[in-house]
Subunit: 117 residues, 2 copies
Amino acid sequence: MADPLSRVFSALADPTRRDIVARLAVGDATVNELAAPYDVTVQAVSKHLKVLEDAGLVSRSREAQRRPVHLEAEVFDLMTKWIERYRRQAEERYRRLDDVLRSMPDAGPQPAKATQP
Amino acid sequence: MADPLSRVFSALADPTRRDIVARLAVGDATVNELAAPYDVTVQAVSKHLKVLEDAGLVSRSREAQRRPVHLEAEVFDLMTKWIERYRRQAEERYRRLDDVLRSMPDAGPQPAKATQP
DNA sequence: GGCGTGGTCAACCACTTGGTTGAAGAAGGT
DNA sequence: ACCTTCTTCAACCAAGTGGTTGACCACGCC
């Protein structure tokens, strides 16, 4: 899965990973700290962090033997831009449809099916 | 994967599915129409639509033997709300960090490591 | 040097996923 | 009633995913 957008969406499709992001929004943390609340192994959390890192959502910097994890919030823009683009487009289409309906004479040929029996 | 947010993120983690959403933003379409541009079978596209439907991103209404697919843009809000929440939080934290740095005397103890050899 | 701590790498397992082919439903046209 | 068209269901397959356990690496501390 090469494209960045897919990686970001995919990374956030997991509840544990979203929770990790939520906690990193408060402040940086180490892998062990992050792993504590969940009842999975530290290795599993490390894997989750790798996914988040590959998506560009997170960065790890070396500091003694600790590897504090830091949230990189800029990548969110990638998603919001994509989402907003199509939401706006869909809304505009909706608005245009409303215009068309408003400019209609009154009622076209209503098939009997259209009314619930 | 029960929770709605995971389903939406997961649904949009696939480029084909995102492309389908993009095309549906322009206007409703049938499964065959949607499948045409891709070199996969119609069944595969039907599966993709099922994923999008389960995520609440899309709805199908019966119209003769056609099943026109319609984009439901409201679900986007679920994501944008989640994203904005943590992005804002992270940005605020950043701002606070700036304040702290600005209010600092001058320079703390700079370890030799910090300068690139 | 040796040891404990924090973190990752590797191999494995069950389950999901995106794709295929083939058959079957559902609705219209004739 | 029959055929055609649009769509979905079912079974299968290769590849990916989230999890495990066990070994390993990189530090700082005695």
